[in-house]
Amino acid sequence: MKTVNQKAWFFVLPVLLLVAFNALIPMMTVVNYSVQETFGDNLFFWEGLGWFEQILRSERFHAALGRQFLFTGLILLIEVPLGIIIALSMPKKGFWVPVCLVLMALPMLIPWNVVGAMWNIFTLPDIGLLGYFMNHTLGIDYDMTQNPLAAWITIITMDVWHWTSLVVLLCYAGLVSIPDAYYQAARIDGASNWAVFRYIQLPKMKQVLTIAILLRFMDSFNIYTEPFVLTGGGPGNSTTLLSIDLVKIALGQFDLGPAAAMSLIYFAITLLVSWVFYTLMTKDDT
């Protein structure tokens, strides 16, 4: 006979309160805004699902969403393979291990707005190191305040610089946990380097890689500070990603209703993609 002790609930209470105040209640206010219209003076009118319909039909939203998927897709396509390659080429033991780890961790330690500012100055055509070199030494017209392609190349390079390390470190952790016997057995079995990667290293990295992709997806899908400081969403709207657009609507135009509806849709997309991805990646696990 098991005795049930209901007192245990009291221990959960602090966490419940914490989560309520930092997540649930703010989110409910957003839900509240998303179904109402206001003309100021703290007067609200019921709007139903109108804002959701408006956002979902809005070409501006579609364009920002498209840019967002393009951005996230591109950085994942670059950072994941690059991260794996770097992790594979890092030393497994000896003096260089800590050196490599520290070097890898450095970009991640820099605050996001500083990263944006750094890259902004770095790429200025007349005084930035890269900008000057491109324009005046190589003679390539490179100005991300004028040219959308240059702006895209810059924000993607910046993100790769800032976050590839995360993929590297997670993959590296997966790699060093593989016992030597696996490599020895593979050599005895006559496996090629590709077979070792395909059948030993990749499967052993699968779990950390899932986490790495998930984190990179969520972070890049919600990215705000770096592109905002770097390009401010321009030139034109060319680098206006979802979060930049959302802030423009919410704080620039002060359209609380549509902004709240957009936040919730935005949140739902992030959640849905993450969930589908995670479920697919872990469905074979036992």
Binding site: Q184, I200, T286
Partner: protein
């Protein structure tokens, strides 16, 4: 399949070894006959895994040569040596099915699928894993995973040697026995040279025709399980094999006779080596009997473990173990111990110093 010769093999993990203590392996000369079942037995850290890795080519020895069928392979890479090895922990390719796991070593060598199928089917049947062939290997239990590891070692017909590095470490005790007899059976069917590394005497003695006992980087004795049990060449072997191990009793040697606690102890035969340094009498507990006369001792501990009893008696300040049939005496009782002379040997500085009487 091949005869393996180790010639003047030495290995040190240090870049500039100076004394003998710097060597993990100290001068090893060994011949393993084609098709034999060998065990490499010794405590952890005795150098047996080093020796194994040198044979498989995962490690290049500091000195000496390795020959397969008289051809020098010392500088050959692992995959060129055509050997198979089963590791302590099962190594399986998680994402593949059992079939693909077993086929992997053959496919990597470009064998055609018909042959792969024939070999995999045959090996799977020998290991009783036919019903699992289409299961993903990641979902198997540890003992089945280890069976698959073994299967990958046995699937190639032309391997020079199959080596097992403590393969039963992670296996449950009741399955150990099954796998051990399976291995013995496989050896009889496949007739490949097999080397089995272990620190477990039962595993070594059941598997091997010849057991190589190692300690401190040296080969101490090579022999059949019976030879190791009956005539240990070194006190280490006597102590390491058997349960409880051989009684090693400090003694004095005068006029060609041995004296333990002042009493003359008859030996198996003449002392053939100068009995200098540390001299000890070695007698297995199986050959110590309790009687009404003989050396006097006080029982310190006794245990009845079913078919026989183990008695530990103190003779002076030395402990002597005896295995007795029937009832065991109580603690504190005085007993009289007798050593069977033809099984009582003298060891000088650890090494056997008497010869068996013709």
């Amino acid at each position: 399949m091949a005869k393996i010769t180790l010639s003047k093999l030495r290995h040190s993990y240090l870049p500039n070894p100076s004394g003998p203590d710097d060597y993990a392996l100290k001068e090893i000369d060994l011949d393993w006959d084609d098709g034999g079942a060998y065990a490499l037995l010794g405590p952890s850290g005795c150098g047996k895994s080093t020796l194994l890795n040198i044979i498989s080519g995962l490690l290049v020895p500091s000195e000496g040569r390795i020959l397969f069928n008289d051809a020098d392979v010392t500088d050959l890479a692992t995959d060129k040596r055509n050997i198979a090895q089963v590791f302590q922990f099962p190594v399986i390719y998680d994402t593949m099915t059992v079939y693909d796991n077993l086929a992997f070593p053959l496919r990597n060598r470009g064998r055609d699928e018909a042959l792969v199928k024939e070999r995999v089917t045959a090996i799977a049947e020998m290991l009783d894993v036919t019903s699992m062939l289409n299961v993903r290997a990641a979902n198997l239990s540890p003992d089945n995973k280890q069976k698959i590891s073994m299967g990958r070692g046995l699937v190639r017909q032309d391997v020079n040697v199959v080596m097992f590095d403590e393969p039963l470490t992670v296996i449950d005790p009741h399955l150990k026995w099954k796998l051990r007899s399976k291995l013995k059976e496989l050896h009889q069917r496949i007739k490949a040279t097999m080397i089995y590394v272990t620190h477990d005497q039962t595993e070594a003695l059941t598997f091997a025709d010849q057991v190589v006992v190692m300690d401190l980087g040296m080969v101490v004795q090579i022999g059949t399980p019976q030879e190791l049990f009956e005539r240990p060449a070194h006190t280490f072997v006597g102590h390491f094999i058997g349960s409880p191990g051989m009684n090693i009793l400090p003694c004095d040697v005068r006029d060609g006779a041995a004296f333990f606690q002042g009493a003359n102890v008859p030996l198996e035969g003449n002392i053939v080596k100068p009995a200098t340094g540390r001299t000890e009498i070695g007698v297995r507990p199986e050959f110590v009997t309790l009687g009404t006369s003989g050396m006097q001792g006080v029982v310190r501990k006794s245990a009845d473990i079913g078919r026989y009893g183990v008695v530990e008696a103190m003779v002076g300040d030395t402990r002597v173990a005896a295995i007795v049939e029937g009832g065991v005496p109580e603690q504190g009782e005085t007993v009289h111990l007798n050593f069977k002379p033809e099984q009582t040997r003298l060891y000088a500085d650890g090494w056997l110093a008497t010869e068996a009487r013709g």
